[in-house]
Every structure is written in structure tokens, then in C-alpha cells.
């Protein structure tokens, strides 16, 4: 057991170990306020150690107060008062319970709210300068600075100077409580004073001090060096796990992912369900909402579209006007829920039991259609008459316009008349009106159309068959050739 950074004479230790009264403190020529400061510092710098000395309990173990790992930018002063495993004398100093004549019982002091001091405690208001001061005790020989007089005294031994360790006179000891000098602070008022000198110093630094310590990895800044050190140890080592199971090492990508993750919808629904249950949300009368058993069938698009409604998570469809779009594709939820739902945040619950690529109930019909075409690319062209494209975002085509495919170039001439513009043949003809009787289109206009690049050819183009080859004059090369392969691939749909 040792006081912070301070060794004890063997005799003292023995005396302490026996729980005997501490010897009187002898003061040297020290100004009064500093005397008080030092006195208390000595006691309270290791309050557990000093108090437990008397009650014969185990020494204070700093490791039991882990550094807070929250993402808040500043450790509040409460962090120095952790939820009580062992007591610290900050709030209800055991000092008062100890008399030098008896071994008091073990009192585990619990930390409550910080800044609720013992009513009998003496209130001390220290100046900001005092609170921020470090190394105020200077050795006259070598000008080395020390935070405590005790340390300085021991140092003076090395210079063969006279030294004396002050010891606390337990009779004089009173509880002290410290107020924050910052007038706007909640701890400025004596009723919310903090009982721990270190605590008040750290509090002042954190809340009202300049943040001088910066984490390199994430550039979070801290006013108190120990906070910064604690953070640096854990920064970057922490991994963030989203509800969907993905692991992130970077906080920012985690946050961005989280905001758009399908799992978010589920959780917030549960969250709000709990809130509702707890009656914390009086504005919304949504208790009926979560009894919905709308198992909206998403199966028009076939088995690939399964987002099987989990009976525990009712699927909700937006009951308001937007859901009209879903007309032919969804069974609408039976009665329209109360109007309040429209403004409620819980309108759509996205249930994703499958990997996020599956659809959500809230997805628009257009999107669902496109999803469908992903899977049944060829068959889906009939679904919506307005679509001239079967689009596929993930279909892999013959990626290279290989030489072999050029052979097919000559084959079916109908492959050539792809309608690059996305218009049907009819519309095309309407536009240009150059149609000849045999179906051959005036090349001078349509060559351009045919030869228009539409980029890569991965997008499926719904082309008509049975159209004659458009003769490619003018520009003398058939860009369409490049699409022969892709049309070939898709022609077999």
C-alpha cells in the first residue's frame, strides 16, 4: 500500500498497519491556504488508502475504475466517481466515522451523484489558478517542480537538506468540499460541491479548461492528460458491430452504415415499441400499430424476393396515399390505421431476415420490379408494358467482345436492329417515318440510332427480332458489332 508516489518510512507503515492514530502533522513555514490544500491533498489523494488504513481493509486498486469507453467527447467529472465497487471518500468520507480508538467496520461507500457533499463538510473555494496549477512546490536547489509538498520533501533529502514530512492531525481533519470557481457551472454552488480535490481539479479541467491533448487516430481532444492517455490506449482497437452483423474498425463508416442499414429499422421499431409500452410517448397513440399482422406478400416476383414476414415483427405498409402505388402488387393492409400513423416515425418497418439485398415492404413498385428483373431477366419483360428494358444489375455477360463472337455477327441479321434508344420499333418508326415497305429503314437516320453507344451493353436491351439488318454506311464501322456478343447472349432469353 502506498500513497501516490510517496514512500513511507517503515515506522510509519507499521503504525498505519496497526490502525493507530496518525501522528500530528507538523507544519513548516507554509502559507495557510496551501497548508490546508496540502493537508487535504494528502488525505484525499489517496482517500481509500488513508481511510482503509484505519478500517483495515485492502488497499485501493486504481485498476478497478476502468477508463470510460464511451464515445462522448469529454469524460464528465462523474467518471472520476464511478459506480461504486469500492468506496472512495469523495462523497461521504469515512474519515468522520473513524476515531482513533476503534477499528471501524468496513463501510463500503457507494458513489451516488457527484456533487452531493456531506452537509457538515467545510466548503473550500479554490481559484482556477490553484486548480490548474501543477508542480507548485519547487526545490530551491535545482528548481525541480513537484505536485505535492511531500514529494518535494523527499526530494530535498537527496540534496541533504533538512526535510520533514508533514503528517495529518486527525483531530483537525474535517471533511472538505470543493466548489467550482466557474460561476456558470452546476458545481459552483456549495450544495453541489465535489468532495474530492483531485475530482474538482479534473472537473475544472474537463469542463472549463482548454483541451490540450489530442488523440492522433481520431483527433478527439481532452483537457485532462489521464483522460487522453486512457483514450489513446483503446482508440482504434475498438470494433463496432452493427446489428446486421458487419464489423467495422472505423467509427465513421460504422455510423454511416448504421444509418442506412436494414437492421436499423427493425431495432427502432422494437425501441419504439418499448417506448410505447412504457408510455413514454404520449403523443402517439400507436398501441394498435404493433398488433398489426400484415403479412404482405411480396411474392409476385417469385421466390427470390422472399422477405418472409416474421410473425414477431409485423410488416407494416404505409397506409397513406403512397401505398396506392403498390396497388396491383401488394395486399393492402386492411383498415387504414389512425391518421397519426402518417406522421408517425414508425410507418414502415423494414424486416430483413435475409441479406440486405432483399426487398423491403416500403420499396417502391419500381424498385421491386427492377429487383424482379434481376432474377428473371428474360421472363420479366412482360411484367410491365411500359418497360422496354430488362435491366439487370448483376448479370454477367460475355465480358469481352471476343473474336469468336464476330462470327455470329453475320448470322442473324435481326440481332442488329437493336433499339439503342429504348424506343420500340413502332415508336421509332413513328418518329422517323422513313419506313419502307419491306421494313428496311432509311439508314441515314437509323444508322445513327443503331450505332449509338449505350455504354457497355451490360444493360439488357429489349430488341425486336425479325428486323432486317440496318445497313451501316456513312461512318463505315459498325459499333453495333460490339454489341453482337451481348445481343447474342441475351438473344437466347
Amino acid at each position: 500500500m502506498e500513497f501516490l508516489g510517496l514512500d513511507r518510512e517503515p515506522g510509519e507503515l507499521a503504525a498505519i498497519g496497526r490502525g493507530l492514530q496518525l501522528e500530528a502533522i507538523v507544519f513548516t513555514l507554509i502559507p495557510d491556504d496551501i497548508r490546508a490544500l496540502v493537508e487535504e491533498e494528502r488525505l484525499l489523494s489517496d482517500p481509500i488508502g488513508s481511510t482503509l488504513v484505519r478500517i483495515g481493509a485492502a488497499p485501493f486498486d486504481p485498476g478497478m475504475f476502468p477508463a470510460t469507453m464511451s464515445n462522448s467527447t469529454s469524460l464528465s467529472e462523474e467518471a472520476s466517481v464511478s459506480s461504486g465497487t469500492r468506496g472512495q471518500a469523495g462523497l461521504n468520507p469515512i474519515v468522520s466515522t473513524v476515531s482513533h480508538q476503534q477499528l471501524p467496520q468496513k463501510i463500503k461507500k457507494k458513489r451516488g451523484l457527484p456533487g452531493n457533499p456531506d452537509p457538515d463538510a467545510e466548503v473550500i473555494a479554490l481559484s482556477p489558478k490553484t486548480l490548474l496549477a501543477t508542480n507548485r512546490f519547487i526545490c530551491e536547489i535545482c528548481n525541480k517542480g513537484f505536485q505535492r509538498d511531500q514529494n518535494l520533501q523527499l526530494h530535498r533529502r537527496g540534496h541533504n537538506l533538512p526535510w520533514k514530512l508533514k503528517q495529518r492531525n486527525s483531530k483537525d481533519v474535517k471533511k472538505k468540499a470543493y466548489v467550482c470557481p466557474e460561476p456558470t457551472c452546476v458545481h459552483h454552488h456549495p450544495s453541489r460541491a465535489l468532495g474530492d480535490l483531485t475530482g474538482i481539479k479534473k472537473h475544472f479541467c474537463r469542463k472549463h479548461g482548454e483541451k490540450k491533448w489530442k488523440c492522433e487516430k481520431c483527433s478527439k481532444i481532452y483537457a485532462v492528460q489521464s483522460d487522453w492517455k486512457a483514450h489513446s490506449k483503446t482508440c482504434g482497437t475498438r470494433e463496432y458491430r452493427c446489428d446486421c452483423g458487419t464489423l467495422f474498425s472505423r467509427k465513421d463508416s460504422f455510423i454511416t452504415h448504421r444509418a442506412f442499414c436494414d437492421a436499423l429499422a427493425e431495432e427502432s421499431a422494437r425501441l419504439s415499441a418499448n417506448q410505447l409500452a412504457a408510455g413514454t410517448n404520449p403523443d402517439l397513440n400507436l398501441s394498435s400499430v404493433f398488433h398489426f399482422q400484415n403479412h404482405i406478400s411480396l411474392n409476385p416476383w417469385g421466390p427470390s424476393q422472399t422477405s418472409n414476414p416474421n410473425p414477431n415483427n409485423p410488416l407494416q405498409v404505409k397506409p397513406d396515399s403512397e401505398s396506392q402505388h403498390f396497388g396491383p402488387y401488394f395486399q393492402e393492409s386492411p383498415p387504414s390505421p389512425p391518421k397519426v400513423l402518417i406522421t408517425s416515425p414508425f410507418q414502415t418497418v423494414h424486416v430483413s431476415n435475409n441479406p440486405p439485398s432483399n426487398s423491403s415492404a416500403a420499396m417502391s413498385a419500381t424498385a421491386l420490379l427492377q429487383k424482379a428483373t434481376t432474377v428473371g431477366a428474360c421472363s420479366a419483360t412482360q411484367i410491365n408494358n411500359n418497360y422496354h428494358y430488362s435491366t439487370a444489375s448483376h448479370v454477367s455477360l460475355s465480358p469481352v467482345f471476343s473474336a469468336a463472337d464476330l462470327a455470329t455477327w453475320q448470322k442473324s441479321s435481326d440481332r442488329f436492329t437493336r433499339d439503342f434508344l429504348g424506343l420500340t420499333r413502332d415508336q421509332h418508326q413513328q418518329h422517323h417515318g422513313d419506313e419502307n415497305g419491306n421494313g428496311k429503314v432509311n439508314f441515314s437516320i437509323n444508322a445513327i440510332d443503331v450505332l449509338t453507344y449505350t455504354g457497355g451493353g451490360v444493360e439488357l436491351q429489349h430488341f425486336e427480332r425479325g428486323q432486317p439488318l440496318l445497313e451501316a454506311q456513312g461512318f463505315g464501322f459498325a459499333v453495333a458489332e460490339a454489341y453482337a456478343t451481348t445481343s447474342e447472349a441475351w438473344g437466347d432469353c
Binding site: A259, S364, Y389, G455, E459
Partner: protein
């Protein structure tokens, strides 16, 4: 040169065949003696090109053509060497073609387009991809079909678009490259600092970022202080492609804000053709709100003539801070000089494609989609006339210094604090090497993101 002369005859046959309505022969199988390396083909064919031109068309320029051929072969290395020596063939061919178009040299145009078509592929290496997409634009320019092609590309893209695909794309891109997150982090930092202490915030987000900028801002608002301000977010969507997914986005954002414990309101304005049409009322700006205007890649979509008016419109909203993020390229001052504009376009997109190539895996679907997005922009810039109804798809980028000139008319620059710069540096550290933060030169404002020491993205903050 015997070989090449033999090829001349073959080539002329084939080339002549173009003019005769006959089908292409299987060019490659005829030239089976050639290894199928584009660079080698290039060398052969380019020397052929040169010969043909010198023979048929421009005898007086035979000197230059031989020098050109020597350029080609010198640049391309020796014949028969593997493709490593074929660097930058695309850039040369493309520039040649652009010049030919500008000169209206139609046989040269034909030939170069033909060659490019042979060598180009959207699935190949960087050169092949660039060749492919720029070829498309050049072709449209030559045939004056740019507007139609552009519309086709847009409609194709819209049809394959969905919330999931968009989300996956943008999040993946942000994961592998700080191209977009750079602007987000810097802008968020500037916004947070400018609006610090305000109880009611209103951010007007003019971008197509699908709100990926805002979760981190929401988190910062929630954790920074004890008192979390109320945030109203109004998103102005400029691209048609994005508006369809905004509904889903709005739900997610609202949920997320609830999770964060930030009082939140979300609005979307879409289908806007002209940014200048926005008004305070349309945006729902209230008197007691602290306004921030956030423009990510939005100013370049405004028609060049309207940009000043749009900036004045921002001013009229009375914002506390305006953040602007734009890509560093100049397609606007050269818009009447095709070749110069082309070269700048090529430079920028070469950088971008190379960046994509390095950041993504080789078979990444997201990379492909991003490249395709570029193809639209390329066609738009090079092959479409600006006076046509552009519907907010202008894509004429300007450099940071040029934007600064414009913005200085209505605003004064705000520097980024050291904290924000540190945040950005910490961000860049999380990506692979090659990315740096660059401070601007004198008399310039903002921050630059550099990729391999070339400035690519510019971010700046302004106050009235």
C-alpha cells in the same frame, strides 16, 4: 516493313469494305499472326494509318506522318512486346481523334473511330475503358447525336437504379476511397463550427450524396454537447436518378436521428430543373433557424450562365455558412474549344479511372457502375450543346480557384480550423496511401484532396 505493307493491302480492302456496305470480316482472325495485344495492334495499325494517309491524302505531310509513326512506335515500344509498353495509347488515339473532329477531317475521323472501337472495351484495363467511354462521346460528337445518347444513358441508368444498389454503391465507394468522404468530413466540420450553439439548425443539402454525409454529423450533434439542437434537413436533389430513392432515404434518416436522439425534420425537394428557382419559401426557411447551405457537386450541374444567379440565391437565404465541394477540373472555360476541353476531360477522367482501378478490386461491380456514371458525364460535356434543355445535368466542372472567384461575389471565405484539418488528416490515414490533404496556394481558399499529388477534390467554406 514488308509485313505492314502486306497489311496495307488487307487493311485497305477491309477499310474500303466499310464504304461498300459489306459486313466486317473477322478482322482479328485474319490477323492471327498478330498477338491480341491492343498495343501491338495499335502499333501495326497506327503505322498503317500513317502510311495510308501519307499515300492517299496528304503527301505533303509525309514528313509529319513519319514522325508521327515514329512517335507511335517509339511511344508504344517495339512491335511484339507485351502490353506493358502500350501505355497511354488510348490517350494518344483519343486526342488525335478529337483533333480530327475539330478539323472535320472525316476520313481520319473514320479511321480513328474504327481503331478505337477495335481496341476499346468497358471491361478492360484503364486505357481500354477510357477508350470505350470517350469513343462513345466522340462518336456522338461526330454524328451530333449527343443529346439523344445522353438521354438514353440516363433512362437506362434510371431503370436499373434502386435504393439498395445506390446505397451499396455509395457506401462501398466511401469505404475504399476518400473521394467523397473528404468533402463530407471537411464540410461537416465547418458546419458544426459555424452553427455551434444554435438551437435550431437548418441544413440545405444540395447534392446527390444520398445523405451519406449526415449520419456522422448527427452523431456529432448528439454527443458533442449536452444540449442537442434541433436539426432540419432539406435535401435538394438534382439528378433524376436519385429522386426515386429519396423516400427510402428519408425514412432511414428519420429513424437514425431518432436513434441518435436528435430532434429531426427531413424534407426533399426534387425534380428541380433550375437551382436558381429555389426560394426561401420553397425551402421552408424560417426566421429563427441557423442556415447552412451544403453544395456537393451541385454547382457544376448549374448551367454556366446561371451560376452567378444561383450564388446570389444562396446569399438571399441568409446562411451562416456555405460549404462547397467540387471536383478539380475545368470543363467550363474551354467549352468553346473542343480539343482543349477534350484534353482536360481526358486528363480528369484518366485520373479518376485510375483511382477507381486502384481502390476497387478488379471485378468490382460498384466500380463498373461508377465508370458508367462517368460515361454519362463525358457524353454530356463533350457531345451535348449547352443551350439545349439541360435539366440540371450540365457537368461543366470548374476548378476551385474559378469557383472561388464566383463565390467571392457574394461571400467571403472561411478557413478551416486546425481541428477540421486534423479530422481530415485522420480520415485520410484510414485509407490506402496516395491520398493527401493539400492546403491551397496563396490567395486561394479551401482544402484540396490530392491523389498521387494531383489535386482532385476541392472543399471550401464561405460566410456572407
Amino acid at each position: 516493313m514488308k509485313v505492314s505493307s502486306a497489311k496495307v493491302s488487307k487493311e485497305s480492302k477491309v477499310h474500303g469494305g466499310h464504304h461498300k456496305n459489306s459486313l466486317h470480316s473477322k478482322r482479328r482472325s485474319h490477323h492471327s499472326i498478330l498477338p491480341l495485344q491492343p498495343s501491338d495492334q495499335l502499333d501495326q495499325w497506327s503505322s498503317v494509318t500513317v502510311d495510308m494517309y501519307s499515300n492517299h491524302h496528304q503527301p505533303q505531310t509525309s514528313h509529319t506522318s513519319t514522325s508521327r509513326s515514329s512517335d507511335y512506335s517509339a511511344g508504344g515500344g517495339n512491335n511484339g512486346e507485351p502490353s506493358g509498353t502500350g501505355n497511354k495509347w488510348a490517350s494518344r488515339l483519343l486526342k488525335e481523334c478529337a483533333r480530327a473532329i475539330s478539323d472535320k477531317d472525316s476520313s481520319k475521323i473514320h479511321h480513328l473511330l474504327w481503331m478505337l472501337n477495335e481496341l476499346a472495351s468497358p471491361y478492360g484495363d484503364c486505357d481500354q475503358k477510357l477508350a470505350s467511354y470517350f469513343l462513345q462521346a466522340l462518336f456522338c460528337k461526330a454524328t451530333e447525336s449527343g443529346q439523344r445518347c445522353f438521354k438514353t444513358l440516363i433512362s437506362v441508368a434510371e431503370k436499373s437504379h434502386s435504393f439498395d444498389s445506390a446505397r451499396k454503391l455509395i457506401l462501398k465507394f466511401q469505404e475504399v476511397s476518400p473521394w467523397t468522404t473528404f468533402g463530407h468530413v471537411a464540410a461537416n466540420g465547418a458546419i458544426l463550427e459555424a452553427l455551434d450553439g444554435e438551437p435550431k439548425l437548418h441544413i440545405i443539402d444540395i447534392s446527390n450524396t444520398l445523405c451519406t454525409q449526415w449520419p456522422t454529423l448527427l452523431e456529432a450533434l448528439a454527443t458533442r454537447n449536452d444540449d442537442t439542437p434541433h436539426l432540419k434537413l432539406t435535401v435538394v436533389v438534382t439528378a433524376n436518378i436519385v429522386s426515386s430513392v429519396m423516400k427510402e432515404i428519408s425514412q432511414r434518416m428519420e429513424k437514425f436521428a431518432r436513434l441518435m436522439g436528435v430532434p429531426f425534420e427531413f424534407n426533399v425537394i426534387s425534380g428541380l430543373n433550375h437551382l436558381g428557382e429555389l426560394t426561401k419559401e420553397a425551402l421552408g426557411v424560417l426566421e429563427d433557424e441557423a442556415i447552412a447551405v451544403n453544395c456537393i457537386g451541385a454547382l457544376r450541374r448549374v448551367a454556366v450562365e446561371e451560376r452567378a444567379a444561383v450564388i446570389q440565391m444562396f446569399r438571399s437565404l441568409g446562411p451562416k455558412v456555405v460549404t462547397v465541394v467540387e471536383e478539380e477540373a475545368d470543363f467550363s472555360s474551354t467549352r468553346y474549344e473542343f480539343v482543349k476541353c477534350f484534353e482536360e476531360c481526358l486528363r480528369f477522367y484518366t485520373c479518376y479511372f485510375e483511382m477507381l482501378e486502384e481502390c476497387f478490386t478488379a471485378t468490382s461491380n460498384e466500380k463498373l457502375m461508377l465508370e458508367r456514371e462517368c460515361s454519362r458525364g463525358i457524353v454530356r460535356v463533350l457531345a451535348c450543346d449547352d443551350d439545349q434543355d439541360n435539366e440540371g445535368e450540365c457537368e461543366r466542372r470548374e476548378r476551385g480557384s474559378q469557383w472561388s472567384e464566383r463565390l467571392k461575389e457574394a461571400f467571403s471565405p472561411v478557413g478551416f480550423s486546425d481541428d477540421v484539418a486534423d479530422d481530415v488528416k485522420a480520415l485520410l490515414k484510414r485509407y490506402r496511401s496516395g491520398w493527401e490533404l493539400a492546403q491551397p496556394h496563396q490567395n486561394e481558399t479551401g482544402l484540396y484532396l490530392t491523389w498521387k499529388e494531383e489535386a482532385v477534390v476541392w472543399v471550401s467554406a464561405w460566410k456572407p
